[in-house]
Amino acid sequence: MSRALTPRAHLATEVAEAVIRVPGVEGLSRGSGQEAAVQYAGGKVLGVQITDQHIAVHVLLNRLPLPPIVAMVRSRIDEVVVRHTDGGAVPTIDVLVEGVELDHLPRRREVVL
């Protein structure tokens, strides 16, 4: 029996792979509350949600500041999506930062009067 991924699962896999490769991304998160995943026959891609007009990724980051990492994540997803849509309607992309895992917190500067 063929185990070909559905187009949605295929897109989800590529999105997940692209996001994980971004420096500063610790990993994908299943999200808080109900599980965020794209399911397909025999498995699921955790941390990615895809509907017809919408893509959401739930990420754990390991570095500050967040905005440049998030921007990089977004542009990597864009690249994947553009490759998949062939000029069709482009879905909106949500990046949800579920947490930050830091080896050490940035040192707080003591204010000495």
């Binding site: 599980e35 017809d52 007009q53 849509t85």
Partner: protein
Amino acid sequence: MTESTDTVTREQQALAETPRSNEAAGTLGSETRPASQTGLRGTAVARASSPVHAHAQLQSDRGSTRIADGVVSKIAGLAAREIPGVQSMGRGLSRTLGAFRQKVTRASDEDLATQGVSVEVGERQAAIDIDIVTMYGQSIVEVSRAVRENVIERVEGMTGLEVTEVNISVDDLFVDADGDAGQAAPRVQ
């Protein structure tokens, strides 16, 4: 439920009368199939076009191919069970009877594959109703979307029938005794 079934029967009759009405089949499909709704699914549309040739092969000049309801419901049942968010299938009573039957007659899983599935098969189209049980913590929207996608892909791919609709009803929610059902069995890709 009976209402939707009636619609399909009428549409099947309409299609049987005008075998070349591809537009009718197209609009019918786009309403029921999420796969062909937007440009995001460019690949889905391309892939879905291959069974269309198979439809033609079901009805040839030198004879026709008929596919029994049981064949379609078995494929649909197995396809639905492939999705990780599906805990079991069938309504409460049939689930209980199914488990009992399995104990008494030592029926294999394959024999129970059609549990929770009812189908209506025409000459070139099929409509499928599925009863599923999912787990607490799963997104029902995502599970039913994945079930619908996979059932359509498997049935169209294996039988050549066009699936006009897949109606899913979520009949129960499985709660793991250990607490978080999702945490218990992580299926990380």
